[in-house]
């Protein structure tokens, strides 16, 4: 069992790493959020003013923190950050971990080998899973931790082993450090555990104690992260309050929903294209679970369903973007439910069976082949949907990566080409500045858009960035502080939050009387600003 899990892990890790390296090095196609985490890690280690807090508090820290060891090597080998390789090195093993958990989940169920391997393969090869294993985003660790929590909670249903309960709680706690959505999972899981333990023991106190055990890791993550943020920046929840936070980004760049039925319909559509089998699976799983008196299928519904519900609700309330990846949990949900069509077989081995462990009933009959077929059909559906610009804003450019068509001159093709070209301009800006061989602290820029310059440069020390302790002082009097250039973006859209624009609102237009235009660099990328390099004085 262990060796087959290890094989699953290494094979899928290899696959995702290979795809990731192909996209990064050959196509040079990046997700902005992935690259910006690399930049955060780099500014913590290799900026003018290296300090861990430079990692930033707007987004949770797990992805950036875990990249630190590799980013540390970027001083000698800048390609690591320039091509976002440190991010791929993170997402590939994590997504492979998610695949391994799905594999072990099927094993725990006692499913027959053909089903174990079919579900493992269909999950591992789902195009969204492959892409998010390859692109360095925080979805990979998040999904891995959720699958881990789900598997351990399913075990806990029959083992009552405190190991299972604690590991599930810790996984959710860590998941919060990857994505804020884990807070919803934490709440849902706590309710589930209270209900199960109350039903099992007939007492509220054991239920309360189990609730504390499963909820305290995520509560600790939340408190520690908020407290750290508050101690260092004076604000506990920057995601919501900061001018760089999600709320502000939505306001500046638009894209939030108008609410109402349209928003709900969009969420449902996103869930459906990621898990086309779900409408079929849900009623069948429910009926089977009822007839078998099988509580296990409730667990994936609670853990992964909480993420989907949270995503749908926040989109409905206009608090977030119409991104397909927010519904990624639908993929493991479908895979796990297919497994749970199969009968429970065998007993789970536990390190410490709990006082309320139960002998696992052995069910009969199986609709798993039908489920596996539905899952197999889902893969092409998801693949096609990923190429759709409306359903899949962040992924549809992959269509052009995989099936380029130089004869197609449509606006959409053009946009996709620009998306793929994104951050190439920033790399050239970095190269240009590197060639000037400037002393440390010569160029002031904000990382709102500048993050891709920061990852690409050979010499991050030449930049003055907002995470530097003396940033405001230098920005107030660039000339006095040895600054030679201001790297500016238009004061519109997300550029409004750019610190240089906030201090000198007309700097992009006219240099704000402190600088003269040296260079204007139009951007090849989609949704990326035109850069203007102003010389001080």
């Amino acid at each position: 069992m262990r060796s087959s899990a290890a094989r699953v892990f290494w094979l899928s890790c290899l696959l995702y790493a290979a795809v990731g390296l192909y996209l990064a090095l050959d196509v040079a196609y990046f997700q902005g959020d992935s690259l910006s985490r690399v930049a955060a890690a780099r500014s913590a280690l290799h900026s003018r003013d290296p300090h861990l807090a430079a990692i930033g508090f707007v987004f949770t820290p797990l992805t950036a923190l875990l990249q630190l060891p590799l980013v540390a090597l970027s001083d000698w080998w800048p390609a690591l950050t320039r091509w976002g390789i440190t991010a791929v090195a993170l997402s590939a093993p994590f997504m492979a971990g998610a695949v391994t958990q799905v594999h072990l989940f099927a094993r725990d169920r006692g499913a027959s080998p053909w089903l174990v391997w079919t579900v493992t393969a269909l999950f591992a090869l789902n195009p969204m899973i492959v892409y998010y294993g390859a692109n360095g985003m925080s979805e990979a660790p998040f999904l891995m931790l959720l699958c881990w929590a789900t598997r351990r909670l399913v075990r806990w249903i029959s083992t009552d082993d405190v190991h299972d309960l604690a590991v599930a709680g810790i996984a959710v706690g860590l998941a919060y450090l990857a994505r804020y959505d884990a807070l919803a999972v934490g709440a849902a899981v706590t309710v589930l555990v209270v209900a199960v333990t109350r039903w099992r023991t007939g007492g509220w106190r054991p239920a309360l104690l189990d609730a504390i055990l499963v909820a305290s890791p995520v509560a600790l993550s939340f408190l520690v992260w908020a407290a750290t943020s508050w101690l260092i920046t004076g604000e506990a929840l920057q995601q919501f309050s900061s001018s760089y936070g999600n709320a502000a980004i939505l306001e500046q760049s638009g894209g939030g929903s108008a609410g109402g039925l349209a928003a709900l319909a969009f969420s449902v559509a996103e869930i459906l294209v990621l898990g086309p089998a779900l409408p079929l699976l849900a009623p069948v799983v429910a009926v089977l679970a009822w007839r078998r008196r099988d509580l296990e299928p409730v667990v994936p519904f609670v853990v992964l369903g909480a993420v989907l519900a949270f995503a749908a609700l926040s989109y409905f309330r206009g608090m977030t973007f119409p991104f397909l990846r927010f519904y990624l949990a639908a993929v493991p949900l479908a895979a796990m439910w297919v497994v749970q069509l199969a009968p429970r077989r065998g007993q789970l081995r536990a390190r410490r069976l709990g006082a309320h462990a139960t002998v696992r009933p052995q069910d009969r009959g199986s609709l798993a082949p039908v489920g596996a077929l539905a899952l197999a059909v889902s893969v092409p559906v998801t693949f096609v949907a990923m190429g759709d610009a409306n359903l899949s804003q962040e992924q549809h450019a992959l269509r052009t990566v995989l099936f380029p068509d130089p004869d197609d001159t449509s606006e959409l093709r053009d946009q996709e080409n620009r998306i793929i070209a994104s951050f190439g301009t920033e790399r050239r800006v970095a190269d240009y500045l590197d060639d000037l061989d400037l002393p440390d602290g010569s160029v002031v820029m904000d990382t709102v858009y500048g993050f891709a310059v920061l990852t690409a440069t050979d010499r991050p020390e030449q930049f003055v960035v907002p995470s530097d302790a003396d940033f405001t002082r230098i920005l107030n009097d660039p000339a006095e502080n040895g600054v030679r250039y201001l790297l500016t973006v238009p004061n519109e859209g997300r550029g409004v939050s750019d610190a240089v624009n906030r201090r000198y609102p007309t700097v992009f237009e006219n240099g704000a009387d402190i600088a003269t235009l040296d260079l204007e660099i139009p951007n090849d990328g989609d949704n990326q600003p035109t850069w203007r390099l102003y010389r001080i004085g």
Partner: protein, 477 residues
């Protein structure tokens, strides 16, 4: 037996041996001197060096000190988590099920001596009768010795009045200093007839099959097992917040940390009672040290050092948790002092100790016996530093915590405290103490009391090494 009791010469010899036996036969194993000369000079030398360094290179010295403390914290925490994890496996503790325990024919059971030392506690006589009548062991193979100090008139009177003599033998220990439990037990040992000897406190309530389970354990485990330690737990966990904390503390220690130590082949500091020891082992390695205020922990280490093992048995003796904070602090300060005494005694011959328990065993013995009290003392210092840092972020704190100390210290503070709290929660869940959830969440207040006790105990080790802080029993009734 009757002959012994009237034989004044035998009594005098027994008393002399009880008080001076260990000190005369193995002077280095006795805590009658807390610090032997080289230990004293080394300690004073170190203190002098630190003071000089503090005067001349203040900031670097403070930085080094915080770095060393942080490393100690992290090592102790990591080891405790490892032990806990090992102890959490269901099969970590040695288990003998009821049928197996009852099945042993009477003729195959070893002869047993139960020592019950008591001093000035007439109120527990009733409990003792109940406990001893409940034990499932053939009467002809069981000798129970109630050890009372000769001049303890109230307890003697209470025992006689209750007719205790019918169930147990009352053995009067000649009045002599030190008036400690180990001295009484050593004296009792001279009158013990059993092949296996154990100690219960007078108010203890051992699980009735415990002696039979121990007999099976000794039979099944190898000859190198010298001692079987049963679990201790409290019957009054819900009496007040303090007994709740104490119960959670014991639940963690006896159910998980001790089995973890057993699985790691590390020295096990024995609990105060319910440790069942082969008689022959005493003759070989000596008995309890009357000058050590945690003679049980000391004996546990000596057992390991001599190449023997201690097994932890899944059988519970119920005791009464200390419900009074002042009394609790006295008791805990004695334990901390005793742990330090024990550590000092056994490091006197480092090479011999290392041969006996190995490198890992030695590190673990140090984190357990020296680390526990020292860390409890240091906690106070670091809490104050943390509070001052949160309130004012003073420059000095920033100076002595460069990043390579700051981050480990921060992790140790946040993760360490949470991990210990979490272990308490797990221990309460697994021992059916879900009523103590609030005690688990408020346990930092208990740590504050521990810190006070540790400071008191350490101070006393230096000022008055063998002074025995008596714990008052019978407060729950």
């Amino acid at each position: 037996m009757a002959r012994h009791l009237v034989d004044e010469e035998f009594k005098a010899a027994a008393l002399h041996d009880a008080v001076y036996g260990l000190r005369e036969k193995r002077p280095l194993s006795s805590a009658s001197v807390a610090f032997v000369p080289w230990q004293k000079w080394l300690t004073l030398g170190l203190v002098a060096v630190v003071i000089l360094a503090l005067v001349f290179v203040t900031i670097p010295t403070l930085t080094v000190l915080t770095a060393v403390c942080t490393a100690g914290y992290i090592a102790t925490l990591a080891d405790r988590l490892l032990l806990f994890s090992r102890g959490l496996a269901r099969d970590a503790i040695f288990t003998v099920d009821d049928d197996e325990a009852r099945a042993v024919p009477e003729q195959d059971l070893p002869t047993y001596t139960v020592l019950v030392p008591a001093y000035n506690e007439p109120e527990v006589v009733g409990d003792l009768i109940a406990a001893m009548t409940a034990i499932d062991y053939p009467a002809e193979k069981l000798q129970v010795l109630l050890l009372l100090e000769e001049d303890d008139a109230v307890t003697i009177a209470a025992a006689r009045e209750a007719g205790l003599g019918e169930i147990v033998e009352i053995l009067l220990v000649p009045a002599a200093d030190p008036r400690t439990k180990p001295k009484a037990c050593n004296y009792g040992l001279h009158f013990a007839t059993g092949d296996v000897v154990t100690i219960f406190d007078a108010e203890d309530l051992p699980e009735p099959l415990q002696l039979r389970r121990v007999a099976v354990a000794f039979d099944r485990l190898g000859d190198d097992v010298a001692c079987v330690q049963a679990k201790l737990a409290f019957h009054n966990g819900t009496q007040n917040m303090l007994t709740g904390w104490f119960t959670a503390d014991y639940a963690l220690w006896f159910n998980f940390v001790l089995p973890g130590l057993m699985r790691s082949n590390s020295p096990i500091p024995l609990g105060g009672t319910s440790n069942h020891i082969r008689r022959s082992v005493f003759d070989e390695i000596g008995a309890w040290d009357p000058y050590n205020v945690t003679e049980d922990a000391d004996l546990g280490v000596r057992i390991a050092e001599s190449g023997y093992r201690t097994a932890v048995l899944d059988s519970t003796t119920l005791e009464e948790a200390n419900s009074d904070p002042i009394n609790w602090i006295r008791q805990r300060s004695r334990w901390y002092k005793g742990y330090l005494q024990t550590w000092l005694v056994h490091v006197r011959r480092p090479v011999q100790l290392w041969r006996g328990i190995g490198t890992v065993g030695m590190l673990r013995f140090t984190t357990l016996l020296a680390g526990t009290p020292i860390i409890a003392c240091l906690n106070m210092v670091f809490w104050l530093i943390t509070i001052s840092w949160l309130l004012g972020q003073p420059f000095l704190v920033e100076e002595i915590f460069p990043w390579y100390v700051y981050f480990p210290a921060l992790i140790s503070l946040v993760f360490g405290n949470s991990a210990v709290l979490y272990m308490n929660l797990v221990a309460c869940r697994e021992t059916g103490n879900s009523a103590l959830w609030l005690a688990c969440l408020t346990v930092p207040l208990y740590w504050l009391m521990m810190s006070v006790a540790a400071i008191k105990g350490t101070y006393q080790l230096i000022r008055n090494p063998s002074y025995w802080e008596k714990t008052f029993h019978g407060l729950s009734s």
